[in-house]
Symmetry: C2
Subunit: 649 residues, 2 copies
Amino acid sequence: MKTKINKEKSRKVKKEFKMTFLPFETSIEVPSGNSILDAVNKANLPLKTTCGGKGTCGDCVVQIMSGNYQSKPSTALSDQLQSQKYALACRTEVLDDLIVQIPQFQELSIKSIIDSKFFEEQKDLISGFYEVDPPVKKIDLELSPPTLEDNYSDLKRLELKLRKRFALDNLNCEYSVLKKLAHVVRENNGKISIVLFTSDKYKTIIDVIPQSAEKRIYGIACDIGTSTVALHLVDLQSGKILSSCSSFNQQIKCGEDVISRINYAQRPERLQELHDLAVGTINHLIHKAADSAGVSSSDIYYTSFSGNTTMTHLFLNLEPRFIREEPYVPTLNQVPTVLSRDMGLNINHEGRTVCAASVGSYVGGDITAGLLCTPILRDSEKISLFIDAGTNGELVVGNKDWLMTCACSAGPAFEGTGIKCGMPASEGAIEGIRIHDGKLDYKAIDDTKPKGLCGSGLIDLLAELFIHGYVDRRGKFSMKKAKKKIVETEEGKGFLIEQGKHSFWGKELVITENDISHLIRTKGAVYSACSVLLKGAGLSLDKIDSFYVAGGFGQHLKVENAIRIGLLPDVDRSKFHYLGNSSLIGAYLILLSNKNKDFVNEITDKITYIELNTEPTYMNEYTGALFLPHTEMDLFPSVKKLFSSITDE
Amino acid sequence: MKTKINKEKSRKVKKEFKMTFLPFETSIEVPSGNSILDAVNKANLPLKTTCGGKGTCGDCVVQIMSGNYQSKPSTALSDQLQSQKYALACRTEVLDDLIVQIPQFQELSIKSIIDSKFFEEQKDLISGFYEVDPPVKKIDLELSPPTLEDNYSDLKRLELKLRKRFALDNLNCEYSVLKKLAHVVRENNGKISIVLFTSDKYKTIIDVIPQSAEKRIYGIACDIGTSTVALHLVDLQSGKILSSCSSFNQQIKCGEDVISRINYAQRPERLQELHDLAVGTINHLIHKAADSAGVSSSDIYYTSFSGNTTMTHLFLNLEPRFIREEPYVPTLNQVPTVLSRDMGLNINHEGRTVCAASVGSYVGGDITAGLLCTPILRDSEKISLFIDAGTNGELVVGNKDWLMTCACSAGPAFEGTGIKCGMPASEGAIEGIRIHDGKLDYKAIDDTKPKGLCGSGLIDLLAELFIHGYVDRRGKFSMKKAKKKIVETEEGKGFLIEQGKHSFWGKELVITENDISHLIRTKGAVYSACSVLLKGAGLSLDKIDSFYVAGGFGQHLKVENAIRIGLLPDVDRSKFHYLGNSSLIGAYLILLSNKNKDFVNEITDKITYIELNTEPTYMNEYTGALFLPHTEMDLFPSVKKLFSSITDE
């Protein structure tokens, strides 16, 4: 009898529970008694806590999508949020199979990342490269019915028609087209459309479909960022963007920067995992974009990607190891056109994929694509400087005739990563701040309660704190002035931006000295790279006609404040153009025109790369830039003037 | 208790048995009590019996490869064969799971079908087309190791080397090559080989492998006949044939001729089945050929196929229906290069497949490939006539400047099909017969006991019977002369060729009047097609400089006897050249040279096709040819002379 009872008991008291974490779709089994935080850690997911699981910091907030759970009370989470099934991972015991959303990595609100209005405003910048002439085209044909006298085969009839009517000759034809040709031709009485793919090397018929005025063909332009992935669904006939989506790159759970991902990918099954995560992220977004535009994914025939060299390699499932091993030789920079299905993309079976060419291991396709958003490639008189402060910092200077580039390890601070209250430019992110009469005014994206600060908000905040004397030139709090606003956090002193009761998560929003130090190192890396690059090119700042700034700051970067903290050089403000996600715009321009792809390929052959690690002056320049705005105040005359006028007050 | 016993009973007395038939690898479940013949019929396999299952004709002999069985005694099968586990399907009850070989369709002995010596003898004929310049080549390269100063990507290093060293530019590169490039280059210190595929449209790197002098690349040349499939494994570097194989086309179970296969393929799953059967046959032969030559199938990169239009469509898994529906328009005649893996071929993942172009629905790639074995395509003075009497009869007349062709429904009688004791030119087939002093001498292939007669044996037999007066000009037995040799069969009177005790199967070998009538219809179809074709071309026989005869007769076709029965015209014997399986030789020539493929493609554009079905004179010609050798004896002066001299005796 004893045995029986034990058996029943074990049946009733389930010892293992299945935890599924969104948006990663990672599942793990954990024993009962574990907290959700234990499970998160076992699943190796990037949910960080400041208090170490004491239930005080509120960083580990999650939302329970299904399953029963029991949370211990905590002041770090409001009753309202608790009623919406939010819970602190560290205070919640696993008692059931659970599906748990990690809001930090929830899908991004699109309009902040990709704003069509913003894109329209940039159109004059990129107009030289904007043309709707994609390599995939739909061609309508009418084949006359065969007779005993005119009994050419179906394929021959098609070829003759294309030769006669469109002067198209010497075409390849995909097997899948041969397979369906006879039926499509006969069922539609010869009224068919072909989908033709033209590369620089050959032309291939990739589909044959019934002719219909409504039937359109589509493409995807996608920026694969280390942190976020963003894409447009594009009508390949009109060039119109129909819908856009963005989300975190799911690879984030395997490491936040390219180096940690390369390390993670050392084992073959982990390379495959990273590839699958990237493609999973992309497929999810394609599905969403197609859905929202009412488009069938099988009508998507062409995709264009831009990403840094590591992201491109991981997307292509190519070994990234040699990117970081001397002499830093990737498998490829210029990427041959590949079959989308070989990458695992859920689009038409015969869809093609192109990638923006990289310059080398540390200047990737995101930069070359981004250059298409500037006149740098077509203007042979004026000199432009392109600055992309994404997860890495990359700079390009030059014009149509010559180009120089360098890359620096800036880190993703301006994308919100590694900053206590940092976040991407998504719903709830503070994107702008002013200090006025000792009071702090801010604006959050979508006008919700603030969740954190995105890049433009952090730049504003740091500039305002500095100009108004709350922070000194070394980035330390000036206690005399800031005292009232300083709170203690688990990471030391923090300047209070918003009280918990007014913030979305019910937590205080603060910036710590650590955060400021992080931001200063990032801006210092970018600024010093700029100095070294210009010196390498033998140019002074006044020789640069235009500055193009790209990055994930959010759409409302205030150039004035970026100069005040020493991120951008102190020159005439009208010379600056903020591009936003230029990598995505570049991918879009490449999608619509093979000429642009070729343009980008050519860049990689003619650009000169300066390796900062072996450049003896870089370290000095960098050290000098670790002040606000710089050790040498004279480099920032307008800031010096403003600073002295304010501190004189 | 009753229930329990019943259960045990049902466990012990198995009611269904699994029957597997070789070489088809078809399996079927049948209830106990069924005979093997019942199972064969249920499986829809082409095992024919003359006596209708009475155990007397011995046609339904099978060999039991595994499983227990119980046969009723029969005089139609010798004790010796019974001891070798041969059994009559109609007399054997299924009592176990059985694996049963059907010897009729067992693998063919290769040397009779494909004789290298025979092929060598033909080399002077085809020398104009023989060149070793296949479109797939292995190129050895050495990439110098990258340095910080010379840090081009792996792909770029490869491209630069190919450009500099081999003037190869603008290459495609398969994704699978990109995937392994970094490792192959590094693991071999830059000493690599690439496999390059060159089509008329572009060049593609299809593999990258460690450099090794021993490593060679291979190809397959294959003739897909309606009845039999034959192939060569070829060293693509030397052009040497390393091994050869042949077997029945497994599609035979779905119908013996192209029309019945087209009918069978009406349903999509049956088209797939026919495709799978063709590819299954081919894969089996590839495996065997590779095995016997000690070659890994992954080193096979290129395959070339020739077959009639229906076989080509079924191999490519293309709907064959429209081939036989007016206006007889196939999906294609000229076949684009396809990926071998898309066809399901078990060779290198990036292997390519080409097919000889068809002229139209009834003159296929077997004919155009076969023309490469003649000087017809390169001689602009002499006129040649090409006759292929395979399952269908196809004829081509002309020279380099003009070509005319026609096709007739000859039927596969000369391949042994439909003839009581007919068989392919394989082990045990009587390939030659003489009647001398009223006695019959014969020779069987491989000098075994005779199993049946192949084409050349049937032609000899018919000619000898006719010339010696055993058979009259209508193909009927002359009872006065033949009486002693005539035996009664279930299909009427038969002329005894060999007694059962001397034959392999223990059955009498006979030829019936039905068989003779069948052979006369076949030879009549070919001869009358020849007449109509020549009239269409405005030529008399004496204008033809050479006659090239192809077909599955076996390798010892006696032209003299073929003329005596009226299959071939009565002209100077030295004008005849017997080619054997010219389709296979053509496939081999195409494998080794794209020029030959292009040659064959060009034929299809310039050849004139005469449709015999709509040709008013054809029926008259055909009727006239249904005599031995012909109604008009004057068309065969040498036969007339011989005939009168013998009958005068």
